[in-house]
Symmetry: C3
Subunit: 225 residues, 3 copies
């Protein structure tokens, strides 16, 4: 990354907490929107009706965080902010109005989806730590926050969950969680921990997709090696 | 509806709370029973064994309310009343003893199922409001209470959830929720709000099935419009 | 069972609580391990990647107890002990390193899996009773603890849950629960209640598999009887 980029982050975070907060809100909206779009597009492949599309979009957008909050014993995050409901409705409207436009922007959805994965991973880790759980629980919760919505989507669509046999996705989240833990343990200041974790998750995902890197596959016992 | 019908409701609710309560208990039993029957009949289509049939029936009967209660952070409703466990057992017994009889009564199950949808929607809304949540959360919870059990059934049966691509079902519940909110906001007295919401959900469902009305379908991006 | 076996149990439980605890820890590890192996082997049949295999293994190992704890409103048991995470990792490592070895030990996994079913059933019952719920809730929770993980596995693999249409499995757990309740109500001392319940669940499972006993199947309504 260009040195000016680092400078930008540094100024932003240390000198302007308002800007940092605004950036987070924008990222959260883009991530939620991309997650919802992902659910609705998959639903369209199976000819779901509008309601089915909405539910799939909403499930991707809020599913991971809801499972996390349920395990942590706190109120699901989306129940206190109508943004997630409206954001999914907006995504459904766009898919209904212009399939072509949605398709043409595929790369944008991919980028937003990745930023969402990174952001939701960090949000999951921080919420879990704030409730007093150990780091290994936080890493698992970060991963659940980022990826479980997509698993629910695939279950609702009667597909085999794509994150279990395709590109690297969940591993980017888990690696980000380990990086967060390592940097935090080394005493790095929180803004840097967050920024480096965010970049780690995003870069792993971009590189994995760009170079078609995937995890090794398990083999059935009667197969030849 | 015939004026005498309205009169009946009016007398019943204002003059005889005991009768209103009895009616609610009867409706809840019929709804639970119809939901359980629905799960067991679907399980029979896939040649599940008795235990599988029981679990599917129970899942439809209590699944939606259990997800709602889990999100609301309260004890699942069925854990304090053995009625739901016994009602499902009775439904299983009937399906085992007489398939013909069960099939001949298909229309009755459809009516009870619709009454159950209406009742469980209202129950979900009222429980959510009682816990201090805003109305938009209550409408979502009402819908979850009414329809999520059927989604769990379809997931357990490895089917695509039928409410995502067939007749109008969930939309009747959501519309009922909006009607509840509108009438409540207008200051109508609670019994009337409940009765009109109940009729709204039921009538939408009956009309949708009677006239084969369904929601528009989403299309995959490579399809022609 | 040989009289010396009973004597062994009696001495162990009454005279040496430390030994009883050690035995329980060993059984819990073996059961968790066998459950994880079951998830990973099923995932391998569908060519999941390592991450997918891990998630399936973990889901079987902790899924039932997590649903139980979520319904009981307490913190999921695995969040306070890293053993389950590590045990699943060890199982994954073994499956990756030696498919042949895993296959050759199929009988051992079957035995451990059955011991796990018995142990987790009892653990579920006791936890539910300790929280003040009635016995019928405890029996359901015992069954959920023992079998729901396998259902989650099958849902994630996009299979029809095997316990709904194959050998007797859940029924062994429920029967164990009823035996527990009956003996407890008769005033038998707790160690004996536990041991007899444990043997009941295990023996029913062993006999059912050994003699290919299964529950009757439901039939679709248009089939001939």
């Amino acid at each position: 990354m260009h040195p000016k980029g680092w400078l930008f982050f540094r100024i932003m975070i240390y000198n302007d907490p308002q800007l940092a907060h605004t950036l987070q809100v924008i990222l959260e909206f883009l991530g939620t929107f991309a997650f919802a779009i992902s659910g609705i597009r998959h639903a369209a492949q199976k000819h779901f009706d509008w309601f089915g599309g909405y539910v799939c979009g909403f499930a991707v957008a809020i599913g991971g965080g809801t499972i996390r909050d349920s395990m942590l014993g706190v109120r699901p995050f989306w129940m206190t902010d109508i943004m997630y409901v409206l954001c999914t409705a907006l995504a459904l409207l766009l898919v209904i109005l212009s399939r072509k436009w949605i398709k043409r922007l595929s790369n944008a959805w991919f980028v937003f989806d990745t930023l969402g994965l990174a952001l939701f991973t960090i949000a999951g880790i921080q919420k879990t730590l704030a409730l007093g759980h150990p780091f290994w629980v936080a890493i698992i919760m970060g991963c659940i926050t980022g990826v479980a919505g997509g698993v629910i989507r695939d279950v609702l669509l009667n597909n085999v969950p794509v994150i279990f046999h395709k590109e690297i996705y969940a591993v980017a989240s888990v690696t980000g969680g380990i990086v967060y833990w390592a940097l935090f343990s080394l005493g790095l200041s929180l803004p840097w921990v967050v920024v480096i974790t965010f970049l780690t998750v995003s870069i792993i995902r971009f590189v994995a997709v760009g170079y078609h890197i995937s995890l090794p596959t398990l083999h059935a016992e009667d197969e030849k090696k």
